[in-house]
Symmetry: C2
Subunit: 97 residues, 2 copies
Amino acid sequence: MNVENLNKAFDNRIRLGIMSILVVNREMNFNSLKEMLQVTDGNLASHLKGLEDTGYLSVNKGFIGRKTNTIYEITKNGEKAFREHLDALEFLIKNTR
Amino acid sequence: MNVENLNKAFDNRIRLGIMSILVVNREMNFNSLKEMLQVTDGNLASHLKGLEDTGYLSVNKGFIGRKTNTIYEITKNGEKAFREHLDALEFLIKNTR
DNA sequence: ATATTTACTTTGCATTTCAAAGTACTTTCA
DNA sequence: TGAAAGTACTTTGAAATGCAAAGTAAATAT
């Protein structure tokens, strides 16, 4: 089996979703991610933190007017790792159908 | 996002692997699964138990000669759930590329 | 007869996942 | 202007999950 090519960091569906959104949209703030993924703040924050810790996401804290705004962006490494993960998934699916 | 269409039971890569093997091969015993997935006994057993508990796998304990042989088979429900999961994954991949 | 192997199962610790509560503001409106 | 409500996260802690090591019972090898 090619299961070992699947990246453990992307096992979780919320993290899969985060990466999927960020690889398409380049960058996205906390609230948009929260809306798109329909998760609680704490849950989202912890997954974002996890991805940041592995170096797959970079975080940019700024402001919109006087309100804080945190933007998440995929890193080069993150994109590479994610695409490899998708390749492995695709392979698994293909061999399963 | 279509993350909610991903089945939580299949988040884990070992369980993904188990289902993928069983949907193709119809049935497989403990040892073959262990070899194919390269996991420890305990780890494999607990994932098989999890899938059995949700009703996605059926277990058949028998013998080969005088030695025990436990065969795992995918259930109708399991196959349906797994195919839906793959559909959701495929959709996510497609929208990400 | 004893040691080793096989095929799992049980146990228990470590990690992960998650929502609720907390924090540090900002905005609203009485 | 000051109390109340909202915003955008972060922290906390309990529950669920993941895992390998140890255990077990029967078979096989020495």
